[in-house]
């Protein structure tokens, strides 16, 4: 049985543990730096990146502002193409719907493409309770599942595992789930991948039901899009007789043409490739090609609450590229598990408290899991101003205020003083311990100085209520230094790689 994210300790405690895990930190540092450098190269190939990014943000914003219209449109076109649409207000309802749909097929096993929405709702656990086994088929998810573990990165979920550990997990666990690992399996990535290929092929060739998420849904045509690398997605999407896709309502885009923006933004931001190896699109069902039955489960589960917050709404633009994780100094040290949800890193710090509500200790601490350095905003392909949302959520944690919970307007009480203060102090202590992050924070302060109110947001507000804040300089010293001496600095950094 897979572990679930529920009941995770609050961020500071989880991070305090994970930062002591030197292997995790070494793996993460290597991974994030490698991906981040490659990404910069892939993005630099397109001289219209800024325009693509603006278009991506504008399309998503416009869609969100008229989400009811586009969802109805989508439902119409999926239905017209032979699919069936279901609506789920929360995780329990989504799980009930999917369980019922699988039961109706008479099957007890399903194959799954990696999907964060299904992790968010705890689908595997819900299916297990109903006696249905869900097999993860993405290599990293397979490693996580066999290791009875949790994913720690959006893109490379098993990044916290070394090849030797993976070999041990395969040797020990594969046989319990199906075809055992080959005799004498070594720890070379090629051999490990081959073992996964053989193990999973058995599942693919017999599976009658596939479960997926989707990267995009096109309202005008009813087309769903899944972007992947390994081909396990294609297997799950085309071999089974029944396909069930569980997709957050924010994944809709209006037109077929809009994909031209996202299919350029996503692969380069995510894996630093010009295009990911495989993209599959399908519209309802096609005679003789792929599943005969297609169900689309549209998932709310806190998304409409997020939508109701005019500052926080932008988090719903996220296309899950994971670029913000790879540049985040806090993520790099704390690791993905500390965020207590399938959405780690900067996006997790703003999405999780909004989806779940900022009521528990974890959700209250997440807006502090950041140095506000602004790097996440700079790489985000849909220009989500994560620092802005973090500051906004901190204010909610400390001061309370109007929020929407499960569709109803409520007034949130301020978090118990000491809890918020503790969270803030730990975040501050962390930042002072990590000069790099602090420098970044100052840079952000400069960047947004026109937007600064005369007082501090969040916990500092009471203090600044009676004091005038010093004006923030137009440029931090660090940036001035970079700009005036930056050439030499940059080339030296480039030479290290």
């Amino acid at each position: 049985m897979s572990r679930s994210f529920l009941g995770m300790p609050a961020f500071p405690r989880a991070a305090a543990l994970s930062t002591r895990d030197t292997r995790l930190r070494a793996n993460l540092t290597h991974a994030t730096h490698t991906i981040r450098d490659k990404r910069a190269g892939a993005v630099a190939e397109l001289d219209d990146w800024a325009q693509l990014r603006a278009a991506g943000a504008a399309i998503k914003d416009r869609t969100l502002r008229h989400l009811d219209h586009y969802l109805e449109r989508l439902e119409e076109s999926v239905t017209a193409a032979g699919g069936r649409v279901h609506w789920a207000a929360d995780a329990d309802e989504a799980n009930r719907i999917v369980t019922r749909l699988v039961r109706e097929t008479g099957e007890r096993e399903v194959v799954k493409v990696k999907s964060m929405a299904t992790q968010e709702i705890g689908l595997n656990e819900a299916l297990a309770q109903a006696g249905i086994r869900a097999y993860e088929t993405d290599l990293a998810e397979l490693i996580v599942q066999l290791g009875d573990d949790l994913p720690s990165h959006i893109l490379v979920p098993a990044i916290h595992r070394n090849r030797g550990e993976i070999r041990d997990i395969f040797r020990r666990e594969m046989g319990r789930w199906g075809r055992p690992a080959p005799e004498g399996l070594s720890d070379s990535p090629a051999e490990l991948a081959e073992a996964a290929r053989l193990h999973l092929r058995e599942k693919f060739l017999t599976a009658k039901v596939g479960i997926s998420g989707a990267n995009f849904m096109v309202a005008e045509s009813g087309t769903l899009v899944v972007v992947e690398s390994e081909g396990n997605g294609r297997m799950c999407l085309t071999l089974p007789e029944t396909l069930i896709s569980i997709v957050g309502i924010e994944k809709v885009v209006p037109t077929w043409q809009d994909l031209e923006v996202f299919l350029q933004l996503l692969p380069r931001s995510s894996t630093a490739e010009r295009m990911n190896p495989y993209t599959t699109t399908w519209t309802g069902t096609t005679d003789g090609d792929g599943p005969r039955t297609f169900h689309l489960v549209l998932l709310d589960n806190g998304r409409t609450d997020t939508l109701a917050d005019t500052v926080g709404r932008q988090a719903l633009r996220c296309i899950r590229c994971s670029a913000c994780l790879n540049v985040c100094p806090v993520y790099e040290r704390a690791g993905g598990h500390a965020y207590g949800s399938p959405y780690p890193g900067p996006i997790g710090a703003i999405l999780t408290p909004q989806l779940r509500g900022i009521t528990g200790p974890l959700e209250q601490s997440l807006p502090y899991a950041s140095s506000l350095c602004g790097a996440c905003y700079e790489v985000c392909p849909v220009a989500i101003d994560i620092p802005e949302v973090l500051v906004h959520l901190r204010e909610r944690v400390v001061e309370g205020g109007p929020v929407t919970r499960r569709g109803a307007r409520v007034v949130l009480k301020p978090a118990k003083g000491h809890a918020a203060e503790r969270a803030a102090m730990r975040a501050a202590a962390w930042a002072f311990d990590h000069p790099g992050a602090l420098r970044g924070g100052m840079r952000l302060a400069a960047r947004t100085r026109r937007l600064h109110p005369g007082r501090l947001p969040g916990p500092g507000r009471a203090w600044s209520d009676t004091r005038a804040l010093p004006a923030v300089p137009a440029e931090s010293f660090r940036d001035w230094w970079q700009r005036t001496r930056g050439g030499a600095d940059r080339s030296r950094r480039g030479g290290v790689k």
């Binding site: 502002r65 490693i143 993976i166 396990n232 077929w256 190896p277 519209t283 096609t286 090609d289 005019t310």
Partner: protein, 218 residues
């Protein structure tokens, strides 16, 4: 109230700040990004496609349309393919000299039967130069999505220059969302283990692309 009504009502309430007069299609999205990056001659576009395909470890061959049967025959033989899946509308001349036994793409065949086949030969709907991508749309010369997935060796023929476009924005208008599409950029790959790239986890481990120029065969 159905969950559909619940969710839609929540959406509408959440959007109380959106002015009544604002329609779902305004304001217009700024689309001042490029339709294609840089200007290239047709030749150069094909060259770029070849380069980018090779970058992601597809094996690229070029030939005149007339030489296609000989080339395909040779590639299958070099691979030692004893069987090859053939989509129903593939030009029969393409496989006229191939020695591998031809397996027709039939809906009734199971995935397990397909798993026993060595290779597959298909055409494509188009290819995108800037990204090194082949797009298959299930047309008669391409067959069902699964035939290019299960066998371990895929030979895909691109008729150049007719089937080559420069960029993703040039590709989408030429494709129909009603058809199931498969976009392929290099062979199946994973970097999940310590970021080491390994080719072929589930899809074909070897992707060979033939850029066939001249009058489109058939």
């Amino acid at each position: 109230m159905s969950s559909r009504d619940v969710v839609l009502a929540r959406v509408r309430r959440a959007l109380a700040d959106v002015p009544r007069g604002e329609g779902p299609y305004d304001p217009p999205v700024p689309r001042d990004y490029h339709r294609v990056h840089g200007s290239r001659t047709t030749e150069e576009t094909v060259e770029l496609l070849a380069e980018h395909l090779a970058d992601y470890r597809a094996v690229v061959h070029r030939c005149a349309a007339d030489d296609l049967p000989a080339l395909i025959g040779r590639l299958l033989a070099e691979r030692g393919a004893r069987t090859v899946v053939v989509p129903p509308g593939l030009d029969p001349r393409w496989l006229s000299v191939a020695e591998a036994a031809q397996v027709p793409d039939r809906a009734a065949d199971t995935a397990r039967e397909l798993d026993a086949v060595d290779s597959v030969v298909t055409g494509c709907a188009l290819a995108v130069a800037e990204t090194g991508t082949l797009v298959l749309d299930g047309g008669p010369d391409q067959g069902r999505r699964r035939i290019t997935l299960v066998p371990d060796h895929h030979i895909c023929v691109v008729c150049v220059p007719d089937q080559v476009v420069g960029s993703v924005p040039e590709a989408l208008p030429r494709l129909s969302p009603e058809r199931p599409l498969t976009w392929i950029s290099g062979p199946s790959a994973t970097s999940d283990i310590e970021l080491d790239r390994v080719e072929g986890v589930h899809g074909p481990r070897t992707l060979e692309v033939v850029l066939a120029s001249g009058p489109a065969a058939g």
